[in-house]
């Protein structure tokens, strides 16, 4: 028995089909979290795929071998056709996971989604402290509404994950966040240190914790895991600025997961559009299977052919796949370089020094996540 996250490469021997599909149904969102994983260039509502296309895309995905469907955004509940999308996923045998801010849900709508076969709900929280949570999301009353949605989820007998993005402005709440997840009856808690791409990279100094804070959070998670074994599953995502080895980003480029943006672009990673020069295919023009196996963007960094030193001769190259391409580009100027999170990268010392310096300075105001004039895609 081998355990793996959905994006682990363990299940994917040689080049096979994707396990997971992250469906960004819309980039619209009522929250403005400064670490949003959407690109800086948010897509517009008028470019969004229609329901009929999503229905077809899900069928293509299931045929291709996708097992897990993550319905995300933006805020996916803004889609009026979410029930139909969930129903389609259920009829195709896809394990459906709704990743929601929760604030727009009614109990009736959540019940309707459960009725249509939704398998799992993930609700994000910004802090255990309501005032700070609402400040971070820039949405008054959001935290209280999220707790209500979490309770409805459990009352409807759906499994619940609480996702807590962690950074310097809420890291001291970690013990209270763990207790809150327990109190809400969550099956799973994601203690996810913010990953610094896109919006979070713009807000890095406002978000970056100190090394001591990160180590302390790891210790707290270890203790909670031991205490709550068999009760609450806690997944811990570490911030790689203080790491020695990079994470196997997406389980390797084009190995286990694909993302489809609201307008239908198919990406090896949800941040991949930050890499200039890559052309992405769209589900309106090309079959998903063809895109997965043959598109230039998926081939560009798949496997090890693209690697330079120190990755090319590294024993770990098929474990971490060179880390994150977007981070390599943002920090070293080339997406084909090693991820600077790796201490074998010549850029690693500077990378770590930036985190330490920024964490030691006062936090500047947030750049909230909102559409900006001139930054829209398409």
């Amino acid at each position: 028995m081998s355990a793996e996250l959905g994006d682990s490469s363990e299940a994917v021997t040689a080049l096979t089909a994707p396990i997971g599909l992250l469906a960004e149904l819309t980039h619209r969102c009522p929250l403005q979290c400064p670490y949003c994983s959407n690109p800086l260039a948010l897509e517009r509502v008028d470019g969004e795929l229609g329901s009929d296309i999503w229905q077809d895309v899900l069928a293509q995905a299931a045929e291709l071998g996708v097992l897990q469907l993550h319905l995300s955004g933006g805020e996916p509940t803004l889609r009026r056709d979410l029930e139909d999308i969930v129903g389609r996923a259920a009829s195709l045998g896809l394990y459906s996971n709704l990743i929601t801010a929760g604030v727009l849900l009614t109990r009736d709508r959540l019940a309707a989604l459960a009725e249509r076969g939704l398998d799992h709900v993930q609700v994000s929280i910004q802090d255990s402290d309501a005032a700070n949570a609402d400040r971070i999301a820039h949405y008054a009353g959001g935290h209280a509404k999220k707790l209500e949605v979490a309770r409805w989820t459990r009352a409807l007998k759906l499994p619940l994950t609480i996702n807590a993005p962690i950074h310097r402005q809420n890291i001291d709440s970690l013990p209270a966040i763990i207790e809150l997840a327990l109190e809400l009856g969550a099956h799973r808690l994601e203690v996810a240190h913010v990953q610094y791409y896109g919006w979070a990279l713009e807000n890095r100094q406002a978000l970056m914790p100190t090394r001591a804070q990160v180590l302390n959070s790891a210790e707290l998670v270890d203790q909670a895991r031991a205490r709550l074994k068999g009760v609450l599953v806690i997944d811990f995502v570490v911030p790689d600025y203080y790491a020695r080895r990079p994470k196997p980003c997406m389980g390797g480029w084009g190995r286990g997961i694909m993302t489809i943006t609201p307008s239908g672009n198919v990406l090896p990673c949800h941040a991949a559009q930050s890499i200039g020069g890559l052309a992405f295919d769209n589900v309106r023009q090309r079959r998903l299977k063809d895109i997965w196996f043959h598109s230039a963007a998926f081939q560009a960094f798949r496997g090890t052919h693209w690697m330079r030193e120190p990755c090319r001769s590294c024993d770990l190259r098929e474990l971490d796949w060179g880390g994150c391409r977007c981070q390599a580009l943002a920090f070293t100027g080339s997406a084909a370089n090693a991820d600077p999170a790796c201490d074998k990268s010549p850029a690693h010392a500077a990378f770590t020094a930036i985190a330490e310096a920024e964490a030691g300075r006062p936090a500047p105001p947030f750049h909230f996540r909102r559409p900006r004039a001139g930054r829209h895609a398409g």
Binding site: M1, G6, A11, A17, Q68, Q122, P159, T161, A186, G230
Partner: protein, 100 residues
Amino acid sequence: MSQGRPTQRTMIAAASVPRLPSHVKLRHDAARERWVILAPERLLTPDAIALEVLKLCDGERSVDGIADLLADRYAAGKDQILGDVMSMLQDLADKGVITA
């Protein structure tokens, strides 16, 4: 059938009656010709023995009953099998894949 999250660790005993919670799906993965367990943000690939045990976790049979059946099926010593099945199910219970 309660789907409440356990408030304490599920301890597997011979008399336990294990089953998969409704949000955990054991299904055949045709594209890869294998069986998988799907759970929130988890994908587990049971080996042949784990798969056989999981298919016997129907919410009616006890762990002891499962061990009886397997001992019969493989003409093997029951004590050994019971111990192996219990430790496998305990591991799965700790991962949230089995409830009892």
